[in-house]
């Protein structure tokens, strides 16, 4: 125990003496949290909308005005024909072309039926899907409006059988993406900082030759590893705390759940990441190698964590891989506890898997750390 304290003291001195490291540990995460949470939004705004009006009637102008009024659409231009609109789409100048056919108004009033052509740039499939929904909402709204106008008193019984669904968004009522993203990005910060710091730390001692000096002392493997990793555990918890304060004060993210539970889970989670970091540093000889390998895992972990894309929509094999992704569990727990107020029973599966993971990774790390070659 005494020996571990000597190591911890030394590590903290070195961390706080390293003028290049301190900003990386404390300031960069904050900047990332603030920038990423604001930038990484899935809201689709400023859609570049254009139209071809072949009818030039009061109805067609009405419809276009509805698009103009929507905050999602940025009405760029009208095209005289399809040829010009197609080349604008090709250039990326417009995202959507709405073509109103000739006799739009006449067909609506006489036949009560007409067609509209909508062309959407679907290079970004997810965005195209959302745009499609927005367009449909506007057209349907227009449709109801027209119906009311054209309705004859004796039509009432026939047309009123419409079913209208009103979505109710739970846990994030205003569909605020910051509420959704902040807990997730906080997960990334805690993970990245602890993984990179722990992964590079022991390798650094290898590089400068001090690890050999440590290895000729009678120190026990476990003492050395605990002494080495404990400071980073503290830093991880510190980053979580700073992040939670920012989430609450700056982003006004509702934190419904229990703070104790968040800290309990995070404190176990950090062990997993530190174990991975140590494991990496045992198999690398330079900080550069350690950094590349850490990044490799980090990118896979992030993209398969459900933070940006839902895991449910991944192929089956990919979903199986995500079972081994610690970030996935942390993202789930953060969102569940912060936004839904989940209790310990709700997060029990994630908690147990994380504990198991922590044991396996740290076991591997201690096993693979060799004082003799």
């Amino acid at each position: 125990m005494k020996i571990i304290i000597f190591i911890i003291q030394k590590e903290f001195k070195q961390i706080f003496r390293n003028k290049g490291m301190l900003p990386i540990i404390f300031i960069m995460p904050l900047i990332q949290l603030i920038i990423l949470s604001n930038a990484a939004t899935f809201d689709i705004k400023n859609i570049k909308f254009s139209y071809i009006d072949n009818d030039h009637s009061s109805y067609s102008r009405n419809l276009i005005r509805k698009f103009e009024a929507s905050k999602y659409f940025h009405v760029i231009t009208s095209f005289p024909n399809e040829h010009l609109s197609n080349s604008a789409m090709l250039n990326g100048d417009v995202d959507i072309v709405l073509e109103i056919p000739q006799h739009f108004e006449r067909n609506l009033t006489k036949d009560k039926h007409t067609n509209l052509s909508v062309t959407i740039n679907a290079i970004d499939g997810a965005a195209a899907g959302v745009e499609n929904v927005y367009i449909n909402q506007i057209i349907q709204n227009f449709n109801r409006h027209i119906k009311l106008k054209l309705m004859q008193p004796n039509d009432a019984q026939i047309t009123n059988l419409n079913i209208i669904s009103i979505p109710s968004f739970w846990y994030n009522k205003t569909l605020n993406y910051k509420t959704f993203m902040v807990p997730g990005i906080l997960v990334l910060l805690v993970t990245m900082i602890t993984l990179f710091l722990s992964g590079m730390n022991i390798v650094r001692e290898k590089e400068i030759g001090t690890l050999e000096q440590i290895n000729v002392t009678p120190i026990k493997k476990s003492q050395f590893i605990i002494g080495k990793l404990f400071p980073f555990w503290i830093i991880g918890i510190g980053i979580l705390s700073i992040g939670l304060i920012i989430a609450k004060v700056l982003f006004k993210v509702p934190i419904i759940g229990n703070f104790g539970l968040l800290y309990l889970y995070t404190s176990i989670y950090i062990f997993v990441i530190l174990g991975i970091g140590l494991f990496i540093s045992n198999f690398t000889d330079t900080q550069q190698q350690a950094m590349f390998i850490s990044w490799f895992f980090m990118v896979i972990f992030i993209l398969m964590s459900g933070l940006f894309t839902p895991i449910e929509s991944m192929p089956k094999w990919a979903q199986i891989i995500t079972e081994f992704n610690p970030i996935k569990y942390f993202v789930q727990v953060m969102r569940m506890v912060m936004l839904k107020g989940s209790g310990i029973v709700d997060i029990l599966p994630q908690l147990l898997k994380t504990i198991l993971y922590a044991f396996i990774m740290n076991g591997l790390a201690v096993w693979s750390y060799k004082k003799t070659s």
Partner: protein, 240 residues
């Protein structure tokens, strides 16, 4: 005399390459043992086996009475080591380095305090005790390194080219420190490329291509090889 190092047929191979080829020798208590050889002769590999950070491929060796295969951790409690690569922490002060290494050898805070003061007085480090080690000249660092290797009163201290790149005055001071430690009963196992230093040793071994080609006192070696000085002995052996 009691033998503190005994090696019999100690061998280390890396694949097809044999870095250390069945070396046998012994070192007596309180002796200054010079372990010479050209670059790549296998000195460092041999030392690594003796200090318990590299497993021998075959052979047997006992250091401070403990087996290198099975009791490496007990060996570590009884030896000090100073590597070729300077191994104090540049970003810690002199005092902090002493505290840290004293601490991981299990010394108490009180013992560390007394030792630190004694060491600072002995090396005249009063003015730089709170300076970062990285800011000190190499010769100073090496002297501090040696003192740190002696902190826990080891029976044997292994020095791997301790005076490389150090000026002649500091080298002399360094050897005075070595003599003092040897006088107090510490066995010194030292590698060097300076042949004048080899003359200071009680006995010298010369390694060539993984084998010990000669082992005797400097005086006898000069006689055997009909050489003026150790430099000529070394050249005759190393050139084959």
């Amino acid at each position: 005399m009691e033998n503190v190092i005994e090696a019999i047929g100690l061998t280390k191979s890396f694949g097809a390459f044999t870095a250390v080829n069945a070396i046998s020798f012994h070192v007596q208590k309180g002796e200054i043992f010079g372990f010479l050889g050209a670059n790549g002769a296998g000195k460092t590999t041999a030392i690594k086996m003796l200090i318990g950070i590299a497993n021998p491929t075959s052979g047997a060796a006992k250091v401070a009475g403990f087996d290198v295969f099975t009791e490496a951790e007990s060996i570590k409690r009884n030896i000090g080591y100073m590597s070729q690569k300077f191994a104090l922490y540049d970003d810690l002060t002199v005092k902090e380095n002493i505290t840290f290494f004293g601490g991981i050898y299990g010394l108490t805070r009180a013992a560390i305090k007394t030792k630190t003061q004694a060491l600072i007085d002995e090396l005249n480090l009063e003015n730089v005790a709170n300076h970062l080690v990285g800011s000190l000249p190499l010769g100073w660092k090496q002297k501090i390194s040696f003192s740190v290797a002696l902190l826990h009163n080891p029976k044997i201290v292994f020095l791997d080219e301790p005076t490389g790149g150090v000026d002649p005055i500091t080298r002399r001071q360094f050897w005075e420190m070595i003599y003092k430690a040897a006088h107090q009963g510490t066995t010194i196992f030292v590698t060097t490329h300076y042949m004048d230093e080899a003359e200071y040793c009680d006995r010298v071994s010369i390694m060539v291509n993984g084998k010990i080609e000669a082992l005797d006192t400097p005086k006898n070696l000069k006689k055997t090889y009909k050489a003026e000085n150790m430099n000529d002995v070394f050249l005759k052996l190393a050139r084959g």
